[in-house]
C-alpha cells in the first residue's frame, strides 16, 4: 500500500482464528448446462447464523442487481430450496424478482412437504426430494473451484460475498463489507473492506485492487492491515503471500516479480 513497492507492506504473519466460525449463509447462483440453479442456504446448515427470509431476500435482490453475467435473457431457473420453508407469497416474490431480471423460474426442488405444496399452489412445478439427496449439493471439500463470480456493484457496508471460487468485483468494496473467496479476489475499484482470498487454505491466491485501502486483507491463514499513514499516491496493487507474510506490490511490478525464481521455493511447492 505504500508507493514504495520495495518495502513489503505487511505485518508479521498471524495464524488467525478460522473465519469459518459462523459464516452468513449465502444465496448463490450457479450455471449448469444451459440453466441456472438458484441455491438457497439450508435452514439447518449453520444453526448459529441461520439466514432469515429477509436476509435471503436481500441477498437475492443484491445478486440480481449486481448483474451477474452468467445468463442470457429468459434462462430457465431451478430453485434449489433444500430444507427451507417457503410460503406461497415468498415463492411468488422470488418468481417475480427473477422475471424482473428476465429470468424464468421453472421448477422448485425442496425436501419440505409444505414448501412443495405452496409451490404447487403457486402454479410452479415442484420436485420433492429426500432431505439428504440434494441436487447439486454445493461446497463439498476437495472439489475444483466454482466458476468465477463476476459482479458489477458497489459492495456496501454490511454486505458479505462468499464464493467457493474467484470473485471479480466491478465496483468499490466499501468499509464494513466482506469478501471471502476460495480463489483470488479482483477488485476493479477501491478496496476498503475486509477481503480474504484462498479462504480454503490456498496461499497462492492473490488479491488485486485498483486502489488498496483495506480494513484487512487475508490470504489463507495470513492477515495484513493497511499501514496507519495512507500513501499520497494510490495505484493498482497486488497482495500475495511470500515468506510467511502478505506483501503488497505495485501491479506493474507483480508480473515481473512472479516470473523471477521464487526466493523460497517451499511456498510454490506447497499443496
Amino acid at each position: 500500500m505504500t508507493s514504495d513497492s520495495s518495502l513489503p507492506a505487511a505485518i508479521p504473519s498471524i495464524v488467525q482464528p478460522a473465519p469459518e466460525v459462523s459464516p452468513v449463509p449465502q444465496v448463490r447462483f450457479k450455471g449448469e448446462s444451459g440453466r441456472l440453479l438458484l441455491l438457497l442456504p439450508s435452514e439447518t446448515e449453520v444453526v448459529s447464523s441461520a439466514a432469515t427470509w429477509t436476509d435471503i431476500w436481500q441477498q437475492l435482490k443484491q445478486r440480481l442487481n449486481a448483474g451477474e453475467r452468467f445468463w442470457q435473457p429468459n434462462t430457465p431457473v431451478h430453485l434449489i430450496a433444500r430444507d427451507r420453508l417457503l410460503d406461497g407469497r415468498q415463492l411468488q416474490s422470488i418468481a417475480d424478482a427473477l422475471t424482473e431480471a428476465q429470468l424464468q423460474l421453472k421448477r422448485v426442488y425442496t425436501s419440505r412437504r409444505q414448501t412443495a405444496v405452496a409451490a404447487a399452489t403457486t402454479g410452479l412445478s415442484v420436485e420433492q426430494q429426500s432431505p439428504v439427496a440434494h441436487l447439486n449439493q454445493p461446497e463439498e471439500s476437495g472439489q475444483a473451484l466454482a466458476e468465477p463470480l463476476y459482479i458489477q456493484t458497489t459492495v456496501r457496508s454490511g454486505m458479505e460475498v462468499r464464493h467457493p471460487g474467484t470473485v471479480i468485483i466491478l465496483g468499490d468494496v466499501n468499509p464494513g463489507s466482506t469478501i471471502i473467496a476460495d480463489g483470488d479476489v479482483l477488485v476493479w475499484g477501491m478496496l476498503r473492506g475486509v477481503v480474504q482470498a484462498g479462504a480454503a487454505g490456498n496461499t497462492r491466491c492473490v488479491i488485486m485492487a485498483l486502489r488498496m485501502e483495506p480494513t484487512q486483507l487475508r490470504i489463507a491463514d495470513f492477515v495484513a492491515r493497511a499501514p496507519e499513514a495512507p500513501p499520497n499516491l494510490y495505484q493498482p496493487e497486488v497482495a500475495y503471500v511470500i515468506s510467511d507474510s502478505i506483501r503488497i506490490i505495485r501491479a506493474a511490478d507483480f508480473s515481473k516479480e512472479r516470473l523471477l525464481p521464487p526466493v523460497s521455493s517451499d511456498i510454490e511447492a506447497e499443496e
Partner: protein, 269 residues
C-alpha cells in the same frame, strides 16, 4: 404523480427529523401540497419540530384501526396551510404497524398531496422496513463522521435491495473549519464512499437547535441562516433546479454579504 420520499440514515440523531421538517416546510412554501409522515412510532418528534404537538388528536394507528378517518388524523399547519402532518402514535412500538399498512396509508395520501415525506426511525429493523416500504425515492442524511457514513452506506445497500433506487445525499452538521484542519471527513470523502447524487450540505449551526426547541423550522425565519439557505437549496435541487453549492468555507463575517448576493440573484425573474 406524487413523489414519495423517505428520509433515512441508519444512525440515530444525525438530523432526519430536522431535515424532514425543513424540507416539508420549504416545499410547502413553494406551493406544493405536502404531507409529512412520522414513521418513528414510539419515539415521535416530528410534531415537536413543527410545533404541532398540541394539535394532535388522532394518529396513524387510529386511522389503521378504523377509529377515525385519515383527514381527521392529519394536522394542518396554521402558518403554512399547504403542509400537513400525519402523526405517529407515541404509546405504541414499531411493531404496531406493518409495511403493508404503511403502503396503504401513504397510498391514500397521494390522492391529496404532491409530496409525501416519511421521517424514518434510526436503525434497520422493523420501523425502518415500515418507513421505506411505501417510498419511491430516498433522502439519505448523514453527518461527516465515519460511523454515520458506514451506517448510511448500509442503508443505501438495503434500499437498493428493496427497489428504492433513486437516492439523494444530504450531509448535515458539516464544520468547515474542522474539515480544513483535516479533523473531519470532507464532502468529497463522504461522496467517495456513498456514491449517490449530492442534494446539499447543511452546516452545523446553533440556530438549528434553537429552531428545534421552538418548533419553528428554520426556513420560516425572516432573515435566514446559512443552514436555512442550505435547506431551501436542497428543495430546489430536489425539484431539478441547478443551484450552485454554498461556499461554507468562507469566513463567517462574510456571511451576510454572501446571503444578500444570493437573494439578489434569486429575486431576478
Amino acid at each position: 404523480m406524487s413523489r414519495i420520499l423517505v428520509v433515512t440514515s441508519g444512525k440515530g440523531g444525525v438530523g432526519k427529523t430536522t431535515t424532514t421538517a425543513n424540507l416539508g416546510m420549504a416545499l410547502a412554501q413553494r406551493g406544493h401540497k405536502v404531507a409529512v409522515v412520522d414513521a418513528d412510532f414510539g419515539l415521535r418528534n416530528l410534531d415537536l419540530l413543527l410545533g404541532l404537538e398540541n394539535r394532535i388528536v388522532y394518529t396513524a394507528v387510529e386511522v389503521l384501526a378504523g377509529e377515525c378517518r385519515l383527514d381527521q388524523a392529519l394536522v394542518r399547519d396554521k402558518r403554512q396551510p399547504n403542509l400537513a402532518l400525519l402523526p405517529a402514535a407515541q404509546n405504541r412500538t414499531k411493531d404496531a404497524v406493518t409495511p403493508e399498512q404503511m403502503k396503504k396509508l401513504v397510498g391514500a395520501l397521494t390522492k391529496a398531496f404532491h409530496y409525501i415525506l416519511i421521517d424514518c426511525p434510526a436503525g434497520i429493523e422493523m420501523g425502518f422496513q415500515n418507513a421505506i416500504s411505501p417510498a419511491r425515492e430516498a433522502i439519505i442524511v448523514t453527518t461527516p463522521e465515519v460511523a454515520a457514513v458506514r451506517d448510511a452506506d448500509r442503508v443505501v445497500g438495503l434500499l437498493e435491495a428493496n427497489d428504492v433506487k433513486r437516492m439523494y445525499l444530504v450531509i448535515n452538521r458539516l464544520k468547515p473549519a474542522m474539515v480544513e484542519q483535516d479533523m473531519m471527513m470532507s464532502v468529497k470523502d463522504v461522496q467517495e464512499i456513498l456514491a449517490i447524487p449530492l442534494l446539499g450540505v447543511v452546516p452545523d449551526d446553533e440556530r438549528v437547535i434553537v429552531s428545534t426547541n421552538r418548533g419553528e423550522p428554520l426556513v420560516l425565519s425572516e432573515n435566514p441562516s446559512l443552514a436555512a439557505v442550505a435547506f431551501s437549496n436542497i428543495v430546489r435541487r430536489l425539484e431539478g433546479e441547478k443551484v450552485p453549492f454554498l461556499d461554507l468555507t468562507a469566513p463567517q463575517d462574510d456571511l451576510f454579504s454572501r446571503l444578500r448576493r444570493l437573494f439578489r440573484g434569486r429575486s431576478k425573474p
